[in-house]
């Protein structure tokens, strides 16, 4: 057994430059990364909204009316629009990730990225249409 090396002062490999807490504001691409990560808050907010909706739905028409009038507050609408933008950003970055995570090869060549991402968008459109159709009462 080898003895563990003696303690070395100022080990050259251990030098780490201190990274600023605001490192992600220095470059547009890292800023976009943090924006994408922050979309998690919009998703969590949406679940809270959904549970509130379902809870008031179960409590009766009066509670549901109360929920609806809350939703009509301009501040809430503005907040929802911002959350919607973040959620859309999540969807688009998520769908565009597929060709990077699983490149598909055909005839020894990589398929162009848009061809791998495109099915995601088709499924997105179809599911959105079906959900909207159910909610709007199939009219």
């Amino acid at each position: 057994m080898k003895q563990p090396p003696a303690y070395t002062l100022y080990h050259p490999k251990w030098y780490r430059k201190r990274v600023s807490t605001w490192w992600w504001t220095e470059q547009w691409r890292s800023f976009k990364f943090i924006l994408r990560e922050l979309s998690s808050l919009a998703v969590i907010y949406f679940v809270a909204l959904l549970l509130w909706l379902l809870w008031s739905l179960g409590k009766g028409p009066d509670k549901y009316l109360e929920f609806q009038s809350w939703m009509k507050d301009p501040l809430v609408i503005a907040f929802n629009v911002i959350a919607l933008i973040f959620v859309l950003y999540h969807s688009i970055t998520w769908f565009n990730l597929a060709p990077k995570a699983m490149p598909i090869r055909m005839g020894g060549k990589r398929l162009p990225e848009w061809m791998v991402a495109a099915p995601n968008y088709v499924v997105w459109l179809v599911i959105s249409a079906v959900v909207a159709w159910f909610i709007l009462g199939g009219n």
Partner: protein, 116 residues
């Protein structure tokens, strides 16, 4: 032997939640958060909406959407805190807070959907 990590399991929740959220959250948020309140589209009748939400398949779907989206959000937010604010030393506390919150939300969703 190396300690087995929970990370793959948490990551699978993160990725399935990410997919489900990417597919259904925009349309739901647009309808209930923007289009109905602004009157762009006619809000569905209370009883129709209640019947829709009471359907067993709808309850299951809504539970999956809520729970997986929460685990997705929890996982991503955990790393936002690590990377954005560089507070990796609070690792365990943050993990308990994030996944605990998602578990709590799942239980709440199950309770609400059971009683709707």
């Amino acid at each position: 032997m190396a300690k087995r990590s929970n990370e793959p399991f948490l990551w699978s929740l993160f990725s399935s939640g990410g997919m489900i959220a990417a597919l259904v959250v925009p349309v739901l948020l647009f309808l209930f958060g923007v289009a109905f309140p602004l009157g762009w589209l006619k809000s569905p009748n209370y009883w129709d909406l209640l019947n829709l939400a009471r359907h067993p398949l709808a309850r299951l779907a809504l539970l999956a959407i809520s729970s997986l989206s929460l685990f997705h959000g929890a996982h991503r937010f955990r790393f936002t805190l690590y990377d954005g604010l560089q507070i990796k030393h609070l690792n365990e506390l943050i993990a308990v807070f994030c996944y605990g919150g998602a578990l709590f939300g799942t239980a709440l969703a199950a309770y609400i959907l059971w009683n709707i």
